[in-house]
Each structure stands twice: as structure tokens, then as C-alpha cells.
Symmetry: C2
Subunit: 211 residues, 2 copies
């Protein structure tokens, strides 16, 4: 459902701004990097394994000669989104901005690994819509009980004690993807196995070359 | 001067977010791309020549094998900053976001060409502060009369007729840089000469290799 607030945000206020074209066709960027640009959008509960897999995947892609960059909540919330909190509206704006930045990296022919809890289906759909054909949703999926038992930063404990409000999985909702391009059951797969599964998909979908 | 609103924006609301490290040291990214990452921050009046020079410079750098990307007002205002207008507060937020995105591209070892009117000194200083040592201010400088005579998009005409409000140079202020790393007098230099001047500076400052 599109609320008036959402509509407002998606409507550009810059009527007198026109885009000028880059002199570097995307094909030339692609030829140089040897692969397409795309967004791998990781979504999942806190402690589901998003960051670990994102960082290992980045290393694996870099080792193959790919252009790749991890964009994550940590990086964004201390920078571009430092003015935002964790209310539904702020989460929506956080994801919108993340999606816009990821789109820029994909335009620069990066495999952009965007790793965000991104709990709302509608917000993820918005980003998908902005990046038609180059957006792959990766559901990093472990049961809440497993994530809570891991709790590497002690955040679930704080959330249970009400010391953190609006904590996804405890005091804020998480809406799992309906049709993710890739699902990783991280209670069953190791990080290395998860990375392998993504690489296979990237080859199958002709983002990177098989070899 | 730091206003309360400005302070608020610069203070992160994400107390429970900690950064995780990339497994790719910056040096390895640099070794692959063969140059440092940095931000070339173009500032100047509308029609001073920012976009033309930015696009030619991007092409010249790409031809030398550099990683480079143009981030400009056009690109940002239809995407990441579509919720912002042209009031001083919105302009400040526009530049803050642009600076954060440029910083991400510099981290990915791009020569990021950020081309924004960015009329306020304080806002440019903020971005410089976020990117210490990797920020080069490029003053794209032509007299107002020259810019107004060029007026490729007919915006000065509209501004004089009050059809556009808050138009820099006409109905909104422009504060020229005090100590830009590079100044381009575009009423005297051709686009090609301007590009050459920037390339010389990039070599001198050891961003790219001489050859």
C-alpha cells in the first residue's frame, strides 16, 4: 500500500533538473570489469549471518577479479543515514537511501552486496523496482531461536530487557521474502557453503562468467 | 557555525550499530586499480561548466584505466535526494548525502567526480572534513555574466522571471571557495584544457601515476 508519506518521498522535487549522459557506455565498463553490475540484497534477522557471508563473498568475488563492495547497515547508519532511527518510517527511508546508493554502484558495474535487515516487504519491493533485472534478493534465513542463541553483539539480550526498542524479531516485525532469488538456511549451511551457493547463482544468471 | 539542527544531523542515532571490517584491505583495491581513491569536488555557479568538464574528465580517466564515476546533482536529485528541495537546509542535506556517497566511492578506490553547485562554504567544509586527505576542491569559476549568457538550459532566464526560486547566483547566494586545490577559469580555458589541468594535479598529488 502506498501511503501519502511514501508517495511524497518517491516524487522528485527537482522539476528543473535534467540528467546529462556519461561519455562511458555501460558496456565499456562491463567489458573492463568482465561482469555485469548488480545488487545482491541480503535480508534477514539480526545475527542471521548477513555480515559474515557478505564479507566472505566480497573476498571471494574480489579474488576472482570482480568489482565488488559491501554496503551494510553499519556503514550507512554511521554515515549517510545517521539522521535516521528505527521507526517504520525511518527504516523505510534508510532502505530507500541504501537502495539508491546500491543502484549507483550497480551503475558503476559493481556487484554491490547490500546487507540490511530490511524487515519490510514493501521497502524491499521499492528497491527491486528501482533496479529491475539487476536485483537479486538473498534471504539469509535462520530461525529466530538460532539467531538469538548466537547473539554475537548481545543485542537480543538487550532487546529482551527492553534496553533496545524496535528490535527486529523481538519488538519489531520481520516480513520474510515471498520469492527470494536465493535462500540461505544458515542454520544448516556454513558461511563457505553459502558463498558457494551465491556464486553458483551468479554464474547461472550470467552476472559473472563460468570458468 | 554549528546550529542545533546541524549538530543533530551530524550525531548518529545508531548507538547499537558496530562496524564489521571488510576482508579486502584498501591497499589491495589500490594495487588492482593502480591509483588512490579520492573525491574531486566540483563547485560553481549553474552553467559554469561543471558537468561538461566532469564528463570529459571521466572519459579521460577511464581511458587511462582508472576507476572513475561522476556523481552529480542531476543523478542525485532524481534518486537519493528526491525528497529534498532548494532551501538552505535542504541544500545542506543534499550536499551531506552527496559527500557520504562520494566517500563510499572513494573507499571503493574510485576517483569520484562529485559535481554540485554546493554554494555554501560550510557544507563543502563538512564534506572535506569527512574525507580528510582525499578531498580536492575544484572551483569551476566563470563570472556570473558569462554563465548567464551561456544558460544552456534556459534556467537563468526562468530565474530572472521568478519562475524558479532560490536559484544560485540570482536569488540564492554562492560562496566561492577560499583555498580550492584547483581553480578552473572556464571563461578562459577550454574543456580540454581544464581536464588537462586536473590531470596534472592528480599526478602531482600522486593520486594517479605519471607516465
Amino acid at each position: 500500500m502506498v501511503t501519502p508519506a511514501r508517495r511524497e518521498k518517491n516524487h522528485s522535487k527537482s522539476a528543473n533538473i535534467t540528467a546529462t549522459a556519461s561519455k562511458i557506455p555501460l558496456e565499456r565498463r562491463e567489458r573492463r570489469s568482465g561482469h555485469r553490475g548488480c545488487i545482491l540484497w541480503f535480508t534477514g534477522l539480526p545475527a542471521a549471518g548477513k555480515s559474515s557471508i557478505a564479507n566472505e563473498l566480497e573476498a571471494a568475488l574480489f579474488a576472482r577479479g570482480c568489482q565488488t563492495f559491501v554496503l551494510d547497515g553499519d556503514r550507512m547508519r554511521h554515515g549517510l543515514c545517521r539522521d535516521l532511527g528505527f521507526s517504520p518510517d525511518d527504516r523505510q527511508e534508510n532502505i530507500r537511501r541504501a537502495g539508491e546508493v546500491a543502484a549507483l554502484f550497480a551503475q558503476a558495474r559493481f556487484i554491490c552486496i547490500a546487507s540490511f535487515i530490511s524487515p519490510y516487504r514493501a521497502d524491499r519491493s521499492l528497491v527491486r523496482g528501482m533496479n529491475a533485472g539487476n536485483f537479486f534478493e538473498v534471504f539469509v534465513n535462520a530461525p529466530l531461536s538460532v539467531c538469538e542463541a548466537r547473539d554475537p553483539k548481545g543485542l537480543y539480550v538487550k532487546a529482551r530487557e527492553n534496553k533496545i526498542r524496535n528490535f527486529t524479531g523481538i519488538s519489531a516485525p520481520y516480513e520474510p521474502p515471498m520469492n527470494p532469488e536465493i535462500e540461505l538456511r544458515t542454520d544448516k549451511l556454513s558461511v563457505a557453503e553459502s558463498v558457494e551457493k551465491i556464486l553458483r547463482q551468479l554464474k547461472k544468471r550470467r552476472v559473472v562468467k563460468s570458468r
